[in-house]
Subunit: 301 residues, 2 copies
């Protein structure tokens, strides 16, 4: 029987590092400043941005939210990014994804000054990560690495599986695990006999956006499981399968629930550690964004 | 009993593509031009550069070799690269590695215009590859992908193992296999139970620089093995193990031989296809360099 893998102390540790950085910068009369650009009215995006701004406030990082209408012209958005690049009082620029369909989101990412790219999505930061060079790297994988390294100092030789090959989580996660000397496998929707692949892994990171995909039966006994997924479910049958106790009661009352990509209950029967959803990886991501903002500010000194 | 995996027809196919590109460019009065910068007197580097120049000649690609002394100042080399960046008659720039120790080779790579970076080593090209965006990508992995795709159209779901995590071969190879929908594992010197990891793989790409590391006993029956290694051996015991027939006779006469990272003889007992060394992947690399030079020229139109 495994344990709920709490991310709390790792998130606090990351925030302490960020706070120490902020104090040092302020002592040198530098006021770290994150600008979040929000386009349109996606409710989830609004929630995320609110959390990011609140985290900045808590740490004494200056933050500015720029809200643009959903029908903003692509050129206008690019000009805004360029203006922020030039503004020396701005150290971090985050354009909240997803963007409306008429905007080429790769072009927006490419327009951000790589040294202000706190999301770590710019191709040059992607390249730096792959090459093991210094840069700004995606918050979720960086936060997950901190969790792993706080749990065990040396990851050398462990077999790690990353399920999902996104640019935001899966691929950068694979590079970070490789730098930590894990033997790394990346699997995805086209993987054959996914369960057998999963059962080889000491460490499983799941980031695919499919509620409850990874079942206890997929896992190697004693493995560690990090659930990056966050999915809203409304299907009662799925809720009965994935939830129990109070969470199931709440689903019955509201008709909806947030779940991860892992069947948490059945995973706990086999794995040693499983991060919960919600309340797991999300905390790490926000904490790492604060640290990335500090790193970006330092890069620009 | 497996078969020698000939790279000849794939190399020819890549060269045909390059040739068609050259003809099209020349028809538009553009004369593709590769400049190779060679620093110092490393004998292997001189041989490689000679092969590259000869391949250009064969295809009608203009080539220039710039030879600089081993003690050239780092700044002088960077100025030379910058001059080539500005020269509109130069479409591809290749700085032959390795560089003398007093030169920061990452700085030289970063100085090359990414659109002239025919080796695909610039961080922005590394990032583009990871992101699946267009760019210039490393020749050896691109050539190996061409070999795989000429052997089977759809690689989806195959388990591929890349042994070695270099920036030149291992990591870009992993990204290309992932784009081709393989389930991809990367292993390396810190991997535990390497044989078991290898035995899971349908496709094995080896690029570590350790003569005969991968033995037939490591392989899954019927697997395909690409040997990227090229090592000079002088040890008679190793030669007895890895060579036979005429090649062993030649070793006995000369005291040296070139071998790959795979024990070719024992691998053939288990695998379906194994590329030879020498005469395997090298051909693909040179052919792909020609195609990359054409691609670079097209990027600059």
């Amino acid at each position: 029987m495994g344990t709920r893998w709490s991310t709390k102390s790792t998130a606090e540790h990351i925030l302490e590092q960020a706070k120490a950085g902020v104090m040092k910068l302020k002592a040198a009369s530098i006021d770290p400043h994150l600008v979040v650009v929000l386009v349109g009215d996606d409710p989830a995006s609004h929630v995320y941005v609110r959390h990011k701004v609140a985290a900045c406030e808590e740490l004494g990082i200056r933050s500015t939210k720029i809200a643009l209408p959903a029908d903003v012209a692509a050129d206008a958005l690019l000009s805004e990014v360029m203006r922020l690049n030039r503004d020396a009082s701005v150290h971090g620029i985050l354009v909240q994804m997803p963007l409306p369909k008429h905007i080429d989101c790769d072009a927006v990412i490419r327009a951000i000054d790589p040294d202000k790219d706190v999301d770590g999505f710019h191709p040059i930061n992607v390249g730096r990560l792959a090459l093991g060079q210094p840069g700004l790297f995606p918050c979720t994988p960086m936060g997950v690495m901190a969790l792993l390294k706080q749990t065990v100092t040396d990851l050398s030789g462990r077999r790690a599986l990353v399920i999902g090959r996104s640019a935001i989580v899966g691929k950068p996660m694979a590079h970070l695990l490789l730098h930590a000397n894990c033997t790394v496998t990346v699997s995805h929707s086209r993987t054959v006999d996914h369960q057998a692949v999963c059962r080889e892994a000491d460490i499983v990171i799941v980031a695919v956006g499919r509620p409850g995909l990874v079942d206890g039966g997929w896992l190697k006994p004693g493995s560690w499981v990090v659930d990056v997924g966050i999915n809203e479910i409304k299907d009662p049958a799925l809720a009965e399968k994935l939830l129990d106790g109070k969470r199931l009661d709440r689903f019955r009352a509201t008709g909806r629930a947030l779940v991860g990509d892992v069947n948490y209950r059945s995973a706990l029967d086999v794995a040693e550690l499983v991060t919960p959803v919600p309340g797991g990886v999300g905390k790490l991501t926000i904490a790492q964004l604060m640290l990335n903002t500090v790193t970006a500010t330092e890069l620009q000194r």
